[in-house]
Symmetry: C2
Subunit: 218 residues, 2 copies
DNA sequence: CCATCTTTGTGCACGCGTTCACAAAGACAT
DNA sequence: ATGTCTTTGTGAACGCGTGCACAAAGATGG
Protein backbone atom coordinates (compact mmCIF):
# COMPACT_ATOMS: atom_id res chain seq x y z
CA UNK A 1 0.00 0.00 0.00
CA UNK A 2 1.60 3.30 -1.10
CA UNK A 3 1.70 5.82 1.69
CA UNK A 4 3.02 9.30 2.41
CA UNK A 5 4.06 10.83 5.68
CA UNK A 6 2.94 14.28 6.71
CA UNK A 7 6.60 15.23 6.68
CA UNK A 8 7.03 14.32 3.03
CA UNK A 9 3.86 16.09 2.00
CA UNK A 10 4.77 19.16 4.01
CA UNK A 11 8.20 19.35 2.42
CA UNK A 12 6.71 19.01 -1.05
CA UNK A 13 4.08 21.66 -0.39
CA UNK A 14 6.40 23.95 1.50
CA UNK A 15 4.26 24.05 4.62
CA UNK A 16 4.60 22.99 8.22
CA UNK A 17 3.96 19.29 8.82
CA UNK A 18 2.06 19.89 12.05
CA UNK A 19 -0.35 22.22 10.33
CA UNK A 20 -0.84 19.73 7.58
CA UNK A 21 -1.67 16.99 10.06
CA UNK A 22 -4.04 19.27 11.91
CA UNK A 23 -5.79 20.20 8.68
CA UNK A 24 -6.17 16.56 7.75
CA UNK A 25 -7.56 15.78 11.16
CA UNK A 26 -10.36 18.26 10.53
CA UNK A 27 -11.35 16.28 7.47
CA UNK A 28 -11.48 13.17 9.60
CA UNK A 29 -8.82 11.61 7.41
CA UNK A 30 -7.21 8.93 9.41
CA UNK A 31 -3.57 8.19 8.86
CA UNK A 32 -1.78 5.26 10.38
CA UNK A 33 0.74 6.01 13.08
CA UNK A 34 4.19 4.82 12.23
CA UNK A 35 3.25 4.55 8.57
CA UNK A 36 1.62 7.69 7.22
CA UNK A 37 -1.41 8.28 5.04
CA UNK A 38 -2.74 5.88 2.46
CA UNK A 39 -2.29 7.90 -0.72
CA UNK A 40 -5.31 6.59 -2.56
CA UNK A 41 -7.66 7.02 0.38
CA UNK A 42 -6.28 10.48 1.11
CA UNK A 43 -6.75 11.65 -2.45
CA UNK A 44 -10.29 10.37 -2.41
CA UNK A 45 -11.12 12.04 0.89
CA UNK A 46 -9.75 15.42 -0.14
CA UNK A 47 -11.33 15.20 -3.57
CA UNK A 48 -14.68 14.47 -2.02
CA UNK A 49 -14.39 17.24 0.54
CA UNK A 50 -13.46 19.71 -2.16
CA UNK A 51 -16.28 18.58 -4.40
CA UNK A 52 -14.06 17.15 -7.11
CA UNK A 53 -15.93 13.88 -7.19
CA UNK A 54 -19.14 15.62 -8.10
CA UNK A 55 -20.15 16.66 -11.56
CA UNK A 56 -20.72 20.42 -11.73
CA UNK A 57 -22.50 21.61 -14.84
CA UNK A 58 -21.60 25.22 -15.59
CA UNK A 59 -22.74 27.70 -18.21
CA UNK A 60 -20.48 30.33 -19.71
CA UNK A 61 -22.21 33.52 -20.77
CA UNK A 62 -20.44 35.82 -23.19
CA UNK A 63 -18.38 33.97 -25.77
CA UNK A 64 -15.81 36.57 -26.69
CA UNK A 65 -12.11 35.91 -26.46
CA UNK A 66 -12.27 35.26 -22.75
CA UNK A 67 -15.37 33.09 -22.92
CA UNK A 68 -13.79 31.05 -25.69
CA UNK A 69 -10.59 30.74 -23.70
CA UNK A 70 -12.55 29.46 -20.73
CA UNK A 71 -14.50 27.01 -22.90
CA UNK A 72 -11.23 25.64 -24.21
CA UNK A 73 -9.60 25.54 -20.82
CA UNK A 74 -8.59 21.97 -20.07
CA UNK A 75 -8.42 22.37 -16.33
CA UNK A 76 -12.16 22.37 -15.86
CA UNK A 77 -12.95 18.80 -16.80
CA UNK A 78 -10.28 17.40 -14.50
CA UNK A 79 -11.66 19.43 -11.62
CA UNK A 80 -15.16 18.03 -11.92
CA UNK A 81 -16.63 20.77 -14.06
CA UNK A 82 -18.60 20.19 -17.21
CA UNK A 83 -19.41 23.01 -19.59
CA UNK A 84 -23.12 22.46 -20.05
CA UNK A 85 -23.61 25.35 -22.44
CA UNK A 86 -22.10 28.42 -24.05
CA UNK A 87 -24.39 31.41 -24.28
CA UNK A 88 -23.99 34.63 -26.21
CA UNK A 89 -26.22 37.57 -27.03
CA UNK A 90 -25.01 37.80 -30.62
CA UNK A 91 -27.42 35.91 -32.93
CA UNK A 92 -24.56 35.48 -35.40
CA UNK A 93 -22.75 33.31 -32.88
CA UNK A 94 -25.69 30.94 -32.42
CA UNK A 95 -24.95 27.43 -33.60
CA UNK A 96 -21.28 28.17 -34.16
CA UNK A 97 -19.21 25.63 -32.24
CA UNK A 98 -16.60 26.78 -29.75
CA UNK A 99 -14.44 24.12 -28.17
CA UNK A 100 -16.81 21.58 -29.72
CA UNK A 101 -19.87 23.05 -28.06
CA UNK A 102 -22.44 24.97 -30.09
CA UNK A 103 -23.09 28.49 -28.87
CA UNK A 104 -26.69 29.18 -27.92
CA UNK A 105 -28.55 32.44 -27.84
CA UNK A 106 -29.31 34.30 -24.64
CA UNK A 107 -33.01 33.64 -25.13
CA UNK A 108 -32.36 30.01 -24.24
CA UNK A 109 -30.64 30.88 -20.96
CA UNK A 110 -33.45 30.07 -18.56
CA UNK A 111 -34.35 26.82 -20.30
CA UNK A 112 -30.74 25.64 -20.43
CA UNK A 113 -30.20 26.26 -16.75
CA UNK A 114 -33.36 24.47 -15.76
CA UNK A 115 -32.85 21.51 -18.09
CA UNK A 116 -29.30 20.92 -16.93
CA UNK A 117 -29.76 21.75 -13.27
CA UNK A 118 -27.01 24.33 -13.50
CA UNK A 119 -26.12 26.06 -10.25
CA UNK A 120 -22.86 27.71 -11.29
CA UNK A 121 -22.63 30.41 -13.92
CA UNK A 122 -19.61 32.13 -15.45
CA UNK A 123 -20.00 35.68 -16.72
CA UNK A 124 -17.51 36.73 -19.40
CA UNK A 125 -19.57 39.46 -20.98
CA UNK A 126 -18.70 43.15 -21.33
CA UNK A 127 -19.22 45.14 -18.15
CA UNK A 128 -22.45 46.68 -19.36
CA UNK A 129 -24.26 43.38 -19.76
CA UNK A 130 -22.96 41.69 -16.63
CA UNK A 131 -25.57 42.76 -14.08
CA UNK A 132 -28.42 41.96 -16.40
CA UNK A 133 -27.04 38.52 -17.18
CA UNK A 134 -26.42 38.01 -13.50
CA UNK A 135 -30.02 38.80 -12.62
CA UNK A 136 -31.31 36.34 -15.18
CA UNK A 137 -28.96 33.64 -14.00
CA UNK A 138 -30.04 34.11 -10.42
CA UNK A 139 -33.72 34.20 -11.34
CA UNK A 140 -33.25 30.95 -13.22
CA UNK A 141 -31.79 29.23 -10.19
CA UNK A 142 -28.04 29.80 -10.33
CA UNK A 143 -26.60 30.25 -6.83
CA UNK A 144 -22.89 30.71 -7.58
CA UNK A 145 -21.43 33.16 -10.05
CA UNK A 146 -17.90 33.62 -11.29
CA UNK A 147 -17.62 37.13 -12.66
CA UNK A 148 -14.89 38.14 -15.09
CA UNK A 149 -16.58 41.41 -16.05
CA UNK A 150 -15.09 44.50 -14.43
CA UNK A 151 -18.20 45.26 -12.37
CA UNK A 152 -19.26 44.52 -8.85
CA UNK A 153 -22.45 42.51 -9.10
CA UNK A 154 -25.42 42.90 -6.82
CA UNK A 155 -27.04 39.63 -5.83
CA UNK A 156 -29.60 38.52 -3.26
CA UNK A 157 -28.55 36.70 -0.11
CA UNK A 158 -27.65 33.09 -0.60
CA UNK A 159 -25.92 33.70 -3.91
CA UNK A 160 -22.12 33.57 -3.99
CA UNK A 161 -20.20 35.84 -6.30
CA UNK A 162 -16.48 35.73 -6.96
CA UNK A 163 -14.97 38.46 -9.04
CA UNK A 164 -11.85 37.77 -11.05
CA UNK A 165 -9.84 40.80 -12.08
CA UNK A 166 -7.12 39.73 -14.47
CA UNK A 167 -5.15 42.88 -13.82
CA UNK A 168 -4.87 42.44 -10.07
CA UNK A 169 -2.18 39.79 -10.30
CA UNK A 170 -0.29 41.95 -12.73
CA UNK A 171 -0.58 44.83 -10.32
CA UNK A 172 0.87 42.75 -7.52
CA UNK A 173 3.82 41.86 -9.74
CA UNK A 174 4.33 45.52 -10.56
CA UNK A 175 4.19 46.33 -6.87
CA UNK A 176 7.03 43.93 -6.14
CA UNK A 177 8.88 45.02 -9.24
CA UNK A 178 8.80 48.57 -7.96
CA UNK A 179 10.30 47.44 -4.67
CA UNK A 180 13.05 45.49 -6.41
CA UNK A 181 14.24 48.37 -8.54
CA UNK A 182 14.97 51.39 -6.45
CA UNK A 183 13.62 51.21 -2.94
CA UNK A 184 15.45 54.35 -1.98
CA UNK A 185 15.21 56.35 -5.20
CA UNK A 186 11.46 55.83 -5.41
CA UNK A 187 11.05 56.91 -1.82
CA UNK A 188 13.18 59.98 -2.31
CA UNK A 189 11.45 60.94 -5.53
CA UNK A 190 8.43 62.31 -3.71
CA UNK A 191 8.45 64.59 -0.70
CA UNK A 192 10.13 63.44 2.47
CA UNK A 193 7.02 61.88 3.96
CA UNK A 194 7.71 58.35 2.77
CA UNK A 195 8.39 55.84 5.55
CA UNK A 196 9.69 52.65 3.93
CA UNK A 197 7.99 50.31 6.43
CA UNK A 198 9.47 46.84 6.92
CA UNK A 199 7.86 44.15 4.82
CA UNK A 200 7.75 40.43 5.35
CA UNK A 201 10.29 38.52 3.33
CA UNK A 202 8.68 37.65 0.00
CA UNK A 203 7.45 34.08 -0.21
CA UNK A 204 8.77 31.93 -3.00
CA UNK A 205 5.54 30.16 -3.92
CA UNK A 206 3.38 30.96 -6.91
CA UNK A 207 0.03 31.15 -5.21
CA UNK A 208 -2.45 34.02 -5.11
CA UNK A 209 -1.48 35.06 -1.61
CA UNK A 210 1.59 36.75 -0.15
CA UNK A 211 2.11 40.27 1.06
CA UNK A 212 -0.33 42.63 -0.52
CA UNK A 213 -1.77 45.79 0.98
CA UNK A 214 -5.23 45.09 2.40
CA UNK A 215 -6.74 48.32 1.16
CA UNK A 216 -6.70 49.34 -2.47
CA UNK A 217 -9.10 51.34 -4.60
CA UNK A 218 -11.61 49.55 -6.78
CA UNK B 1 -10.38 71.02 -0.11
CA UNK B 2 -12.32 67.77 -0.39
CA UNK B 3 -11.51 65.38 2.42
CA UNK B 4 -12.59 61.99 3.73
CA UNK B 5 -12.45 60.66 7.24
CA UNK B 6 -11.11 57.22 8.01
CA UNK B 7 -14.58 56.42 9.30
CA UNK B 8 -16.21 57.16 5.95
CA UNK B 9 -13.61 55.21 4.01
CA UNK B 10 -13.85 52.29 6.38
CA UNK B 11 -17.62 52.15 6.09
CA UNK B 12 -17.39 52.25 2.31
CA UNK B 13 -14.76 49.55 2.17
CA UNK B 14 -16.33 47.42 4.87
CA UNK B 15 -13.26 47.40 7.07
CA UNK B 16 -12.32 48.66 10.49
CA UNK B 17 -11.46 52.35 10.64
CA UNK B 18 -8.58 51.83 13.06
CA UNK B 19 -6.94 49.32 10.74
CA UNK B 20 -7.38 51.66 7.84
CA UNK B 21 -5.72 54.48 9.74
CA UNK B 22 -2.90 52.18 10.80
CA UNK B 23 -2.37 51.06 7.22
CA UNK B 24 -2.26 54.63 6.01
CA UNK B 25 0.23 55.50 8.70
CA UNK B 26 2.61 52.89 7.27
CA UNK B 27 2.51 54.71 3.96
CA UNK B 28 3.41 57.91 5.75
CA UNK B 29 0.19 59.45 4.54
CA UNK B 30 -0.57 62.30 6.80
CA UNK B 31 -4.15 63.14 7.46
CA UNK B 32 -5.24 66.20 9.34
CA UNK B 33 -6.70 65.68 12.79
CA UNK B 34 -10.17 66.98 13.10
CA UNK B 35 -10.56 67.02 9.32
CA UNK B 36 -9.55 63.78 7.66
CA UNK B 37 -7.48 62.95 4.61
CA UNK B 38 -7.09 65.17 1.59
CA UNK B 39 -8.65 63.03 -1.11
CA UNK B 40 -6.43 64.11 -3.95
CA UNK B 41 -3.22 63.73 -1.99
CA UNK B 42 -4.32 60.39 -0.63
CA UNK B 43 -5.14 59.03 -4.06
CA UNK B 44 -1.77 60.16 -5.31
CA UNK B 45 0.10 58.63 -2.39
CA UNK B 46 -1.61 55.25 -2.70
CA UNK B 47 -1.28 55.25 -6.47
CA UNK B 48 2.40 55.93 -6.21
CA UNK B 49 2.96 53.33 -3.53
CA UNK B 50 1.13 50.74 -5.61
CA UNK B 51 3.04 51.64 -8.73
CA UNK B 52 0.04 52.98 -10.61
CA UNK B 53 1.80 56.19 -11.52
CA UNK B 54 4.51 54.34 -13.34
CA UNK B 55 4.28 53.05 -16.88
CA UNK B 56 4.81 49.30 -16.98
CA UNK B 57 5.47 47.87 -20.41
CA UNK B 58 4.40 44.21 -20.60
CA UNK B 59 4.64 41.57 -23.26
CA UNK B 60 2.03 38.87 -23.76
CA UNK B 61 3.36 35.61 -25.12
CA UNK B 62 0.90 33.16 -26.65
CA UNK B 63 -1.89 34.87 -28.55
CA UNK B 64 -4.60 32.24 -28.42
CA UNK B 65 -8.03 32.98 -27.05
CA UNK B 66 -6.67 33.87 -23.64
CA UNK B 67 -3.82 35.97 -24.95
CA UNK B 68 -6.22 37.87 -27.18
CA UNK B 69 -8.61 38.34 -24.27
CA UNK B 70 -5.80 39.79 -22.20
CA UNK B 71 -4.69 42.06 -25.03
CA UNK B 72 -8.23 43.39 -25.29
CA UNK B 73 -8.66 43.74 -21.56
CA UNK B 74 -9.40 47.35 -20.76
CA UNK B 75 -8.34 47.22 -17.16
CA UNK B 76 -4.63 47.20 -17.94
CA UNK B 77 -4.22 50.69 -19.30
CA UNK B 78 -6.00 52.29 -16.37
CA UNK B 79 -3.73 50.42 -13.97
CA UNK B 80 -0.54 51.75 -15.48
CA UNK B 81 0.17 48.84 -17.81
CA UNK B 82 0.97 49.17 -21.47
CA UNK B 83 1.00 46.20 -23.80
CA UNK B 84 4.36 46.66 -25.47
CA UNK B 85 4.07 43.63 -27.70
CA UNK B 86 2.14 40.48 -28.52
CA UNK B 87 4.25 37.44 -29.28
CA UNK B 88 3.25 34.10 -30.77
CA UNK B 89 5.13 31.07 -32.07
CA UNK B 90 2.79 30.62 -35.02
CA UNK B 91 4.30 32.31 -38.12
CA UNK B 92 0.79 32.63 -39.55
CA UNK B 93 -0.11 34.98 -36.72
CA UNK B 94 2.80 37.32 -37.40
CA UNK B 95 1.68 40.75 -38.50
CA UNK B 96 -1.96 40.05 -37.79
CA UNK B 97 -3.30 42.75 -35.48
CA UNK B 98 -4.94 41.79 -32.20
CA UNK B 99 -6.48 44.60 -30.19
CA UNK B 100 -4.80 46.97 -32.57
CA UNK B 101 -1.33 45.59 -31.92
CA UNK B 102 0.44 43.50 -34.54
CA UNK B 103 1.50 40.04 -33.38
CA UNK B 104 5.21 39.38 -33.62
CA UNK B 105 7.02 36.10 -33.94
CA UNK B 106 8.80 34.43 -31.06
CA UNK B 107 12.12 35.03 -32.77
CA UNK B 108 11.77 38.70 -31.95
CA UNK B 109 11.23 38.08 -28.24
CA UNK B 110 14.66 39.02 -26.94
CA UNK B 111 14.93 42.12 -29.10
CA UNK B 112 11.46 43.36 -28.13
CA UNK B 113 12.16 42.97 -24.43
CA UNK B 114 15.44 44.78 -24.63
CA UNK B 115 14.20 47.58 -26.87
CA UNK B 116 11.22 48.30 -24.65
CA UNK B 117 12.84 47.72 -21.30
CA UNK B 118 10.19 45.16 -20.44
CA UNK B 119 10.43 43.67 -16.96
CA UNK B 120 7.02 42.00 -16.77
CA UNK B 121 5.96 39.13 -19.02
CA UNK B 122 2.62 37.37 -19.34
CA UNK B 123 2.60 33.74 -20.43
CA UNK B 124 -0.62 32.55 -22.07
CA UNK B 125 0.83 29.69 -24.05
CA UNK B 126 -0.08 26.00 -23.87
CA UNK B 127 1.46 24.21 -20.91
CA UNK B 128 4.13 22.56 -23.02
CA UNK B 129 5.69 25.80 -24.18
CA UNK B 130 5.48 27.71 -20.93
CA UNK B 131 8.78 26.78 -19.30
CA UNK B 132 10.72 27.37 -22.49
CA UNK B 133 9.13 30.77 -22.98
CA UNK B 134 9.74 31.54 -19.35
CA UNK B 135 13.44 30.75 -19.65
CA UNK B 136 13.79 33.01 -22.65
CA UNK B 137 11.94 35.83 -20.95
CA UNK B 138 14.15 35.58 -17.89
CA UNK B 139 17.32 35.37 -19.95
CA UNK B 140 16.23 38.49 -21.80
CA UNK B 141 15.83 40.43 -18.58
CA UNK B 142 12.25 39.91 -17.44
CA UNK B 143 12.03 39.70 -13.64
CA UNK B 144 8.29 39.26 -13.10
CA UNK B 145 6.12 36.67 -14.79
CA UNK B 146 2.38 36.19 -14.77
CA UNK B 147 1.70 32.60 -15.74
CA UNK B 148 -1.67 31.47 -17.07
CA UNK B 149 -0.37 28.13 -18.32
CA UNK B 150 -1.22 25.16 -16.11
CA UNK B 151 2.39 24.50 -15.14
CA UNK B 152 4.54 25.46 -12.21
CA UNK B 153 7.46 27.39 -13.61
CA UNK B 154 11.02 27.10 -12.40
CA UNK B 155 12.85 30.40 -12.21
CA UNK B 156 16.11 31.64 -10.71
CA UNK B 157 16.14 33.68 -7.52
CA UNK B 158 15.11 37.26 -7.93
CA UNK B 159 12.38 36.48 -10.43
CA UNK B 160 8.76 36.65 -9.27
CA UNK B 161 6.20 34.27 -10.68
CA UNK B 162 2.49 34.39 -10.08
CA UNK B 163 0.39 31.55 -11.39
CA UNK B 164 -3.22 32.16 -12.31
CA UNK B 165 -5.41 29.10 -12.45
CA UNK B 166 -8.78 30.04 -13.89
CA UNK B 167 -10.40 26.97 -12.43
CA UNK B 168 -9.44 27.66 -8.84
CA UNK B 169 -12.07 30.30 -8.33
CA UNK B 170 -14.62 27.99 -9.88
CA UNK B 171 -13.51 25.28 -7.52
CA UNK B 172 -14.00 27.56 -4.55
CA UNK B 173 -17.52 28.32 -5.70
CA UNK B 174 -18.21 24.61 -6.08
CA UNK B 175 -16.85 24.05 -2.60
CA UNK B 176 -19.33 26.50 -1.13
CA UNK B 177 -22.08 25.21 -3.37
CA UNK B 178 -21.50 21.76 -1.98
CA UNK B 179 -21.86 23.08 1.56
CA UNK B 180 -25.04 24.93 0.71
CA UNK B 181 -26.84 21.92 -0.73
CA UNK B 182 -26.73 19.01 1.64
CA UNK B 183 -24.27 19.43 4.45
CA UNK B 184 -25.53 16.29 6.14
CA UNK B 185 -26.36 14.15 3.12
CA UNK B 186 -22.91 14.68 1.61
CA UNK B 187 -21.27 13.80 4.89
CA UNK B 188 -23.38 10.69 5.32
CA UNK B 189 -22.83 9.59 1.73
CA UNK B 190 -19.35 8.29 2.47
CA UNK B 191 -18.28 6.16 5.40
CA UNK B 192 -18.80 7.41 8.92
CA UNK B 193 -15.39 9.05 9.22
CA UNK B 194 -16.52 12.52 8.18
CA UNK B 195 -16.35 15.14 10.92
CA UNK B 196 -18.21 18.25 9.63
CA UNK B 197 -15.91 20.77 11.33
CA UNK B 198 -17.30 24.23 12.05
CA UNK B 199 -16.57 26.84 9.40
CA UNK B 200 -16.42 30.56 9.65
CA UNK B 201 -19.53 32.35 8.47
CA UNK B 202 -19.11 33.06 4.76
CA UNK B 203 -18.07 36.60 3.97
CA UNK B 204 -20.22 38.60 1.61
CA UNK B 205 -17.49 40.32 -0.37
CA UNK B 206 -16.38 39.37 -3.85
CA UNK B 207 -12.66 39.25 -3.32
CA UNK B 208 -10.26 36.37 -3.84
CA UNK B 209 -10.00 35.62 -0.16
CA UNK B 210 -12.35 34.04 2.35
CA UNK B 211 -12.41 30.57 3.81
CA UNK B 212 -10.60 28.12 1.64
CA UNK B 213 -8.66 25.06 2.72
CA UNK B 214 -4.97 25.86 2.83
CA UNK B 215 -3.83 22.57 1.35
CA UNK B 216 -5.05 21.29 -1.96
CA UNK B 217 -3.42 19.16 -4.63
CA UNK B 218 -1.85 20.84 -7.63
C1' DC C 1 -6.73 83.74 22.84
C1' DC C 2 -9.15 80.17 24.86
C1' DA C 3 -12.56 76.48 24.80
C1' DT C 4 -14.65 72.94 22.39
C1' DC C 5 -15.10 69.57 19.02
C1' DT C 6 -13.64 66.43 15.56
C1' DT C 7 -10.50 63.11 13.84
C1' DT C 8 -5.95 61.25 13.61
C1' DG C 9 -2.18 58.27 15.20
C1' DT C 10 -0.99 54.60 18.21
C1' DG C 11 -0.19 51.86 22.71
C1' DC C 12 -2.29 47.92 24.46
C1' DA C 13 -5.02 43.87 24.90
C1' DC C 14 -7.57 40.32 22.95
C1' DG C 15 -8.21 36.42 19.84
C1' DC C 16 -6.87 33.36 16.35
C1' DG C 17 -3.83 30.71 13.69
C1' DT C 18 0.61 28.55 13.48
C1' DT C 19 4.20 25.95 15.46
C1' DC C 20 6.34 23.22 18.97
C1' DA C 21 6.67 19.23 21.41
C1' DC C 22 5.12 15.01 23.21
C1' DA C 23 2.20 11.17 24.44
C1' DA C 24 -0.41 7.54 22.20
C1' DA C 25 -0.72 4.24 18.62
C1' DG C 26 0.46 1.05 15.56
C1' DA C 27 4.00 -1.50 12.61
C1' DC C 28 7.75 -4.44 12.57
C1' DA C 29 11.58 -7.18 14.17
C1' DT C 30 13.22 -10.38 17.41
C1' DA D 1 4.75 -11.53 23.25
C1' DT D 2 7.69 -7.79 24.07
C1' DG D 3 10.50 -3.98 22.80
C1' DT D 4 11.80 -0.55 19.60
C1' DC D 5 10.98 2.67 16.15
C1' DT D 6 8.29 5.60 13.30
C1' DT D 7 4.59 8.72 12.65
C1' DT D 8 0.18 10.48 13.93
C1' DG D 9 -2.98 13.47 16.55
C1' DT D 10 -3.31 17.21 19.64
C1' DG D 11 -2.66 20.08 23.98
C1' DA D 12 -0.19 24.12 24.96
C1' DA D 13 2.61 28.16 23.99
C1' DC D 14 4.06 31.54 21.02
C1' DG D 15 3.52 35.33 17.71
C1' DC D 16 1.01 38.32 14.87
C1' DG D 17 -2.68 40.87 13.19
C1' DT D 18 -6.96 43.23 14.42
C1' DG D 19 -9.78 46.16 17.09
C1' DC D 20 -10.46 49.08 21.12
C1' DA D 21 -9.81 53.17 23.35
C1' DC D 22 -7.56 57.33 24.31
C1' DA D 23 -4.25 61.06 24.22
C1' DA D 24 -2.43 64.45 21.02
C1' DA D 25 -3.31 67.61 17.35
C1' DG D 26 -5.42 70.80 14.82
C1' DA D 27 -9.60 73.23 13.17
C1' DT D 28 -13.33 76.18 14.32
C1' DG D 29 -16.17 79.43 16.84
C1' DG D 30 -16.85 82.74 20.39
Amino acid sequence: MPTVSSEELAAAAGVNSAKLRKDFSYLGSYGTRGVGYDVEYLVYQISRELGLTQDWPVVIVGIGNLGAALANYGGFASRGFRVAALIDADPAMAGKPVAGIPVQHTDELERIIEDNGVSIGVIATPAGAAQQVCDRLVAAGVTSILNFAPTVLTVPDGVDVRKVDLSIELQILAFHEQRKAGEESAAAAADGAAAPAARRTPSTDQGPDGDVPAVMPA
